[in-house]
């Protein structure tokens, strides 16, 4: 029984961390219409940044700054934001293909750099030697994992509330205006390029936060954690859940992560031994079909975006 519960806690922690990432992507794609093809790069910047800033000294690469955990996490978020700022500055004035390609390129280059630059972050061996916060007080057991899950859940709720407020605010309205009709927004004196940049950087900082939590959860990050696969998964979560709807984003994260874990388990359990090598390929075909199928038959996702009416007329008075 305790085994099942502790597995559920493990599952829910991962899904919640991914849900935070999906929320960040939703701000970029769902609310502003920015295609981020390199989600993992910003996620990875958060994870690497947090572990390098908060970890113990490691021979041979950067690290050992031993910052207090909140500062380390903040540093990871800033790293992700900085990267987004540079890429955004260069591409957001151009047609949308450029952002898609450049972000995809960032992800390839980031993974490539982390895999090769041993002096920077340990290369293929990854970053170790990170002490999870409050571990000495709480130990390593079930209690720690449960409390960590609760902390992640609280952060997820905080991010959700923040984004709901943001989307309902005049700024959120502006984002949707730029998404729907850039020229109309520009004609009203708004700067679409600046708005896009703000939204892109904010979304990437949230992606960095998710990455930082992910790194903290495993107390380890390596290039294996930032493969393009993760970009696909996070995208699938958003599309299935419903782009533009924050609740849809969270729902999609849990649904897709559940389906992914379950299909992986089922394949490893029931597929013949000689086919085990190919279960990964099969999972990717499935997730690709889910993405394409959703776009063709239900592009608004399971929980579609709700139309926000900023100023309601007064209800007709009943006499």
């Amino acid at each position: 029984m305790i085994g099942v519960i502790s597995y559920l806690v493990f599952f829910a922690t991962t899904a919640s961390i991914l849900a935070i990432a999906v929320l960040g992507l939703n701000l970029q794609w769902g609310n502003t219409g920015l295609f981020n093809g390199g989600v993992v790069a910003f996620f990875g910047a958060g994870a690497y940044g947090t572990l390098i800033l908060g970890g113990a000294a490691q021979a041979g690469h950067l690290g050992g700054y031993g910052l207090a955990y909140p500062l380390a996490l903040l540093g990871g978020m800033i790293a992700a934001g900085l990267m987004a700022w540079i890429v955004g500055l260069l591409t957001l004035r151009l047609r949308h293909d450029y952002l898609a390609i450049a972000t995809f390129g960032v992800a390839v280059a980031f993974e490539n750099l982390m895999r090769n630059a041993e002096w920077l972050a340990g290369g293929a061996k990854g970053v170790r030697g990170f002490e999870r916060p409050l571990r000495s007080a709480l130990g390593d057991g079930f209690i720690y994992n449960l409390l960590f899950f609760l902390a992640v859940l609280l952060i997820l709720i905080a991010v959700y509330l923040f984004l709901e407020r943001l989307v309902a605010s005049p700024f959120g309205r502006l984002l949707r205006a730029v998404r729907e009709d850039e020229e109309a927004a520009a004609s009203l004196g708004k700067s679409p390029a600046r708005l896009r940049l703000t939204a892109f950087v904010t979304g990437s900082v949230i992606l960095g936060l998710a990455g930082g939590l992910y790194g903290t959860f495993y107390a380890f990050v390596s290039p294996q954690d930032i493969l393009p696969t993760l970009t696909f998964q996070i995208w699938a979560m958003l599309i299935v859940g419903g782009a533009g709807n924050n609740r849809g984003a969270i729902f999609g994260a849990f649904l897709i992560w559940g389906a992914w874990t379950a299909s992986g388990w089922a394949l490893s359990r029931f597929a013949p031994v000689e086919a085990q090598l190919y279960t990964g390929s099969l999972q990717f075909v499935l997730i690709g079909c889910v993405i394409v199928g959703m776009l063709m038959w239900r592009p608004q996702g399971l929980l579609p975006e709700r139309l926000v009416v900023s100023q309601r007329g007064k209800p007709p008075s009943v006499q």
């Binding site: 390129g105 750099l113 696909f232 690709g288 063709m296």
Partner: protein
């Protein structure tokens, strides 16, 4: 240094072929097609199958065209694979991209292509296995052009370069000298106006996919001849091809050709200053440099 330049030009020849199709699709259908590189692997595997079929049906054709490792059978397979890959591109458009396009969600196209790339790549892996394959098991010996400095060129590589140049020249003639070429450019400039003037939009789109798919097939086969055929080759080629289109300017066929050679050269020359592990990052650095210095590429023009 000279060896790097030669290798770079050879790499450039297949990157250019891949980039031409991509830039045409991006220009006319207005989306960054992340599944284009999968057409390269599709073409490479189609040629592998056709080669085996032709050899089995007509063993006479399995004669090598000395000094190349290319056989008559593989030559025929290349043509068959071009047709098959072009048709597959049309079918994929019919099944997926056209439906998404007709829903009016232009931005979703990028994402649909992401999904399609994943599906195609992994289905290829499921059918053909994950291990690398080769067209010819024999070792192709390189011809020594010079001993000091040591410069090696395989006859196959010369063939690849020449064939690529011939194809590009043929495409140039089609685009600049035929009515079809004009209508293609008209659609790219202004689809609505082109239609008013009697250009059949649906047919033009089919033609673009046929050309793009056919050239992608050749590019994939040439990549397979120079390296090896693996299911993940599309994943490794997608960024270099995108970089070629951005360097040349999205929509410019001549830009794509030049961009392909620049990306190929840059990747090989980077070996002189950077450890080999960093080669996959070079296209991204080129993209960054172009975006900073000349955002619309060498031959591109600003277009919203």
């Amino acid at each position: 240094m000279i060896q790097n330049v030669i290798d770079g030009v050879l790499t450039g020849s297949y990157l250019s072929l891949g980039a031409i199709g991509l830039t045409l699709v991006m220009h006319i259908l207005r989306f960054a097609n992340f599944s284009h590189a999968e057409l390269l692997s599709l073409g490479a595997y189609a040629a592998l199958v056709c080669d085996a079929l032709v050899t089995a049906l007509a063993p006479v054709l399995a004669i090598k065209l000395a000094p190349l490792s290319l056989t008559w059978a593989l030559g025929l397979a290349i043509v068959l694979s071009m047709v098959l890959t072009g048709l597959s591109a049309v079918v994929i458009d019919r099944l997926v991209f056209r439906r998404v396009r007709e829903r009016g969600a232009e931005l979703s196209m990028v994402f649909a292509s992401f999904g399609m790339a994943l599906v195609i790549r992994n289905i290829i892996g499921l059918i053909f296995g994950l291990s690398p394959k080769l067209y010819s098991q024999e070792i192709a010996f390189a011809t020594v052009l010079s001993f000091d400095p040591l410069i090696l060129v395989k006859p196959d590589q010369v063939f690849v370069l020449l064939a690529a140049l011939v194809l590009m020249f043929a495409l140039h003639l089609v685009l600049s000298r035929t009515t079809f070429g004009y209508s293609l450019r008209a659609v790219a400039e202004n689809p609505a106006l082109a239609q008013i003037n009697g250009v059949n939009l649906a047919r033009t789109i089919v033609a673009v996919w046929l050309i793009g798919g056919g050239l992608a097939a050749v590019a994939g086969i040439f990549y397979g001849m120079s390296h090896q055929i693996i299911p993940v080759m599309g994943r490794d080629l997608v960024l270099p091809i995108f970089a070629a289109t951005i360097v040349g300017g999205i929509g410019s066929v001549y830009g794509a050709v030049l961009g392909g050679f620049i990306v190929g050269l840059a990747g090989n020359l980077a070996l002189l200053v950077l450890p080999a592990g960093y080669t996959p990052s070079v296209p991204f650095l080129l993209i960054l440099a172009v975006l900073i210095l000349r955002p619309h590429g060498l031959f591109g023009e600003a277009r919203a």
